[in-house]
C-alpha cells in the first residue's frame, strides 16, 4: 500500500500562488486612474472584439488581466449579478463594493478549495458622485481586495509601471494628460504604444444614466497626441 505523502499547507499555497502569478505575468498589464471628470482604464490589447475592459452597470466598469476565458466568466457573472439586483430592487441599489466583495469571496474560495486557482486579476471601478469619491477595487487571484482612490495597476510585472504612474500622477489631471502618462507607463522606456495597440474606456458623466464609454479611433488618437 502506498502512503499519501504529506505536503505542508504552506507549500501547497505557495505552489498555487506561483502557478497563478505565472499565468497572470504572461499577459500585458492594465492601468486604471481617476482624472478630473471620472475614471479612465487603459489596457494593452490589440484585439477590437475580445475586451479586457467592459461595462457592468450604470456607473460600474470591469477590467481583467490574465486568462481571458476566466476573467470573462467573472465579467458575465458580474453583469448578471448587477442586472438582477437592479431589477429586483432598484438601479441605485447596485454598488461596486458589494460586487467587489462577492468577487473576492469567489476568488478566495477557488484559490483554497479547487485544484487550480484562477489566473486572473480583476478591477471593479465605480464612478463617484458628489457624496462618494471614485472607487477602484483591485482584486487579486487569491481574493485579496484593495481599494484605491487614485490609480490601480493590474498584471504580472507591475512594480516598474506603478512607480512610473506614481511619479507622474496628479489630482484632477485632464483625460489627455492621464492617458499620455498611463500609456507611457505601460509602454516602458523601450517601446511606444499607439491607438491600435490599446483598449481604452472611461467612466464619466455623460448624457444618459450609463456612464461607460469606449474611446476609439480618432477620438483616442487625438487625446494621445
Amino acid at each position: 500500500m502506498t502512503m499519501p505523502y504529506y505536503v505542508a499547507p504552506e507549500q501547497v499555497m505557495k505552489d498555487r500562488a506561483e502557478y497563478a502569478q505565472k499565468g497572470i505575468a504572461r499577459g500585458r498589464s492594465l492601468i486604471a486612474s481617476t482624472y478630473a471628470e471620472g475614471i479612465v482604464i487603459v489596457a494593452e490589447n490589440p484585439s477590437r472584439s475580445l475586451h479586457k475592459v467592459s461595462e457592468i452597470y450604470d456607473r460600474i466598469a470591469f477590467a481583467g488581466v490574465g486568462k481571458y476565458n476566466e476573467f470573462d466568466q467573472l465579467r458575465v457573472s458580474g453583469v448578471r449579478h448587477a442586472d438582477t439586483k437592479g431589477y429586483a430592487y432598484s438601479r441605485e441599489d447596485v454598488d461596486a463594493r458589494s460586487l467587489a466583495n462577492l468577487y473576492a469571496q469567489y476568488l478566495g474560495q477557488v484559490f483554497t478549495h479547487e485544484m487550480k486557482p484562477l489566473e486572473v486579476e480583476i478591477l471593479v471601478a465605480e464612478l463617484g458622485t458628489e457624496l462618494h469619491p471614485n472607487q477602484l477595487y483591485h482584486i487579486a487571484y487569491e481574493g485579496t481586495i484593495t481599494d484605491e482612490d487614485r490609480y490601480a495597476v493590474l498584471g504580472g510585472e507591475t512594480e516598474a509601471i506603478a512607480q512610473e504612474v506614481e511619479s507622474g500622477w496628479e489630482e484632477n489631471w485632464s483625460l489627455s494628460a492621464a492617458l499620455q502618462a498611463t500609456v507611457g507607463a505601460l509602454a516602458g522606456a523601450e517601446r511606444t504604444l499607439v491607438g491600435k495597440d490599446l483598449e481604452v474606456a472611461v467612466l464619466t458623466e455623460g448624457s444618459g444614466r450609463r456612464s461607460f464609454h469606449r474611446l476609439m479611433d480618432t477620438e483616442l488618437d487625438t487625446l494621445l497626441t
Binding site: 467592459s54 438582477t84 431589477y87
Partner: protein, 276 residues
C-alpha cells in the same frame, strides 16, 4: 445575493428573462391570479379593480419615428392617475409605449429595458431592431394567460434601424403577434380616434415638427372622444409625453414644446370659433 455562475451546458446566455427564471426571482404576478374571470370591459376599459392606461401613438417621419402617449390611468370609471408615463426609452435607439393593464404593462417595460441592456452587455453587441421587436413579442405572448383574464397588455414598439437607416414601427396583439407598420399606428381605447386623425394628416417623409404636431393633434382628438384618454391638463400643467427616435437616438420632446403646441392648437380652434 451570490454571484450567479453556470456550467457551459446550463448557461442562460444573454437572456435576462431566462436568467431570473433560473434564479427564481419573481418576474410578474403569477399567470393565474386566482379570482374568477375578470370581465373585460365591465367598467369601461377593463375591470374596475385594475389600473388601465390608454392611447399611445407612433408615426414615421423623414428622420425616424415620433411616439406619444396621454397621461391618464383609469380604474373603471374613475381616474386613478393623472401623470402616468406610457412612453419609455427601450434603449438608445428604440422606444416602447404601452396600453392596457398598467401594472403588468409597466413591469413588462422594465423587464424589456433590462433585457435589451443585458444582451448588449453580455454579448458586447446591440440587438438588431427586429430582434428587439421579437423579444417584446415573446414577452407579450408569455403574458397571454393574464390577458385572457382581462389584464391584457398591448405595446407599441418603434425605433431607428441603424442597419437600414430608417425608422420602423411594430404593433402587437395580446397573443404576441407583431406586425410592422409602414406609416403609423395607435393602440389603447382612444387608438381608433388617434389613428383616424393621423391617417388624415399623414404624408410620406414628413418633417420632425409636422410629425410631432400630428401626434399632438391625434392625442387631442382621442381625448376629445374617449373618456379614458387624458387631454392636456391645463390646470395642473400635465401634458402628454412625446418622444422621437432618430439616428441621434431617443430624445424626449420638451414639456415646453408640447405645451406650446397644445396652446396653439386650442387658440387656433378658438379663433376659428369652434368649440375647443
Amino acid at each position: 445575493m451570490t454571484l450567479p455562475f453556470f456550467t457551459p451546458l446550463d448557461d442562460p446566455g444573454p437572456d435576462f428573462a431566462g436568467l431570473i427564471r433560473r434564479l427564481q426571482i419573481p418576474m410578474r404576478a403569477p399567470a393565474n391570479i386566482g379570482s374568477p374571470q375578470a370581465p373585460m370591459g365591465a367598467g369601461g376599459p377593463g375591470g374596475s379593480e385594475y389600473r388601465h392606461g390608454t392611447t399611445v401613438v407612433a408615426l414615421r417621419f423623414a428622420d425616424g419615428i415620433v411616439m406619444a402617449g396621454d397621461r391618464r390611468a383609469t380604474e373603471g370609471h374613475a381616474i386613478a392617475h393623472r401623470a402616468m408615463e406610457k412612453v419609455f426609452p427601450a434603449d438608445r435607439f428604440s422606444a416602447v409605449a404601452i396600453a392596457g393593464a398598467a401594472g403588468p404593462a409597466v413591469e413588462m417595460v422594465r423587464l424589456f429595458q433590462t433585457q435589451l441592456e443585458h444582451y448588449e452587455k453580455v454579448e458586447g453587441v446591440v440587438l438588431s431592431l427586429e430582434g428587439k421587436a421579437n423579444q417584446l413579442g415573446q414577452m407579450v405572448r408569455e403574458h397571454l394567460p393574464m390577458a385572457m383574464q382581462g389584464l391584457g397588455v398591448v405595446p407599441l414598439f418603434a425605433g431607428y434601424d441603424l442597419a437600414r437607416s430608417t425608422g420602423r414601427i411594430f404593433t402587437y396583439d395580446v397573443t404576441g403577434g407583431h406586425y410592422e407598420e409602414t406609416e403609423h399606428n395607435a393602440t389603447g381605447s382612444g387608438g381608433r380616434d388617434a389613428r383616424t386623425t393621423i391617417k388624415l394628416g399623414y404624408r410620406m417623409g414628413m418633417a420632425r415638427d409636422d410629425a410631432v404636431e400630428l401626434a399632438v393633434q391625434a392625442l387631442f382628438e382621442a381625448a376629445d372622444e374617449d373618456s379614458a384618454t387624458g387631454g392636456p391638463d391645463l390646470v395642473r400643467g400635465i401634458y402628454p409625453l412625446v418622444a422621437t427616435v432618430t439616428a441621434a437616438g431617443f430624445e424626449s420632446v420638451t414639456e415646453e414644446e408640447v405645451a406650446l403646441r397644445f396652446a396653439t392648437l386650442i387658440e387656433r380652434r378658438r379663433v376659428e370659433g369652434r368649440e375647443p
